[in-house]
Amino acid sequence: MDGNRGLHYEENLLWEKEYSDHPGVDLPPVEITSLRTGQDARETIGLPQLSEPQVLRHFVRMSTWNYSIDHGFFPLGSCTMKHNPRLNEKLARLKGFAHIHPMQSESTVQGALELMHELQSWLGELTGLPGVCLTPAAGAHGELAGVMTIRRAHEVNGQAQRKIILTPDSSHGTNPATAVMCGFEVRSMPTSETGCLSVEVFKEALYKTDPNGADIAGMMVTNPNTCGLFEKEILEISKLLHDAGGYFYCDGANFNALVGKVRPADFGVDVMHINLHKTFSTPHGGGGPGSGPICCTEELAKYMPVPNVVKEDDGSYRRETMEDRPTSLGTLKAFQGQFGMHVRALSYMKSHGADGLKQVSEDAVLNANYILRSLCDDYHAPYADNGPCMHEALLTDKKQKQHDVTTLDIAKALVEYGYHPMTVYFPLVLPGTMLIEPTETESKDSIDRFVTTMKKIAQDAQEGKAEEFHNFPQSTPRKRLDEVKAARQPTLSWKHVA
């Protein structure tokens, strides 16, 4: 027996296939044997040799183990797993976009450059931040570009003594990591009982080691934050920060709640990144490379990375160089970034239009609140009494834990019932958190099914079925894994490569 049942396929590694040492294709004998033919290398490193149908089946079978937004509901908080419209794909495959090369003469790719210029304008308009750099290749890369921009500004302005970056304890882990990578010291600020940052806490952190905050380089805040709440005191906080000479970096991961409703520049943001692969529906992860453009104020635009696309007086477009903007921190990525994602994002923006994008964020917020209100009796919803949430709903396992069912068990039960779990144990501000982001592209029907499943899970927990929970999932090709053993004794390589 090979482990197959139903239409679930077991699939071993390419090396483990029968006859994997036999070439799948008969090539004519090679007359000159040298390293350049690859023959020596193949004999020594043992690459598997297979036929085209073997290889195709291997990857297609493995693809059936995947779970994606194209399979079903994917409520991963702070990740905005929305539907990726196929129109984006169609446009990205147009020959004039798909078959060009970054080293081609710019006179032959004017359409592509115009598209990037237009995307810059859209992002500038939506954020209120006119300086746009499209090159960062992912969200965390955008954070790096943004904080390096802040560092560059302080250096140029003789403020290199500013060494501290403030972040709330609800921030994404990438925020403090980015600050440290840029040589800053991180000062964490505790989230208040309302789930937000308070002016008092902020002031204490701002003036802790200097009465004027003259050692503060800036702050990194996600708004709406990772508790799914809009930072209500952000205007006063950003004013205090600016008065002290610091810059406000906004993590754009949660921008899906604000598009068309609020321009981040209006609450004091100096620089932020935008995840095109979240907010603007370009594929996540395996579906394609990410893209994390940054948007900044005119002041900071002098320092952001090159190149952006500029329009000449004669109406033509070109990528700028260091000569155009000598104060720039330089190049962070080859050429102009993930151009294919730029096409998809602009396709999404233009097909929705300004009014459509506004409705996107309204519907995203509506869906999250529908989930929050549907589940706040079954699960502990720490901030539900303070009013509506933004685009994601925060629950905890406080009620279920009394019955020996934890957030991890709830997540495993969701897998058993055919759902990708929500984000678990994040944010860290409370124990056992579950962060649910439905996005605007889920229908009421699909959300209702999820809510029904979550209610059943809560009910089963209350009825003392903890033992069952501890064994979930049962119906998957692999059952409950021993995560502790996997972390303590990881197997990091295949048993033996001949």
């Binding site: 991890l408 144990y425 860290l428 124990p431 995560e483 502790v484 972390a487 303590r488």
Partner: protein, 125 residues
Amino acid sequence: MAELKYTKDHECIFVDGDIAYVGISKHAQDALGDLVYVELPEVGKAVEKGGDVAVVESVKTAAEVYSPVDGEVVEINEAMADDYELIAKPVNEDGWIVKVKVSDAAALGDLMDQAAYDAYLAEID
């Protein structure tokens, strides 16, 4: 039974003369779940009260262990790197993570005793 002290960040401390044995409380162990990694400092590292002295990591999260006092790390529990279950032992036996030589004994006065810590746990729950 040895008298154990606690911090608000759930470190558990046993004081023997000018040496503080630092581990984590039962409450912290329950919150973290099984440990999968403990990052120990170098012996001789100067630590300050409230500063990082070690990191404990579970499948759920990684958490800093803070020093309850100013001082210097004089010993680290290397056995813990091979057997994370040791964390469940009393801190004055094998459950300590580091031993810190206390340079300012007054700071020890800020620590909670068992009764105060139990009351604190009830309050934050």
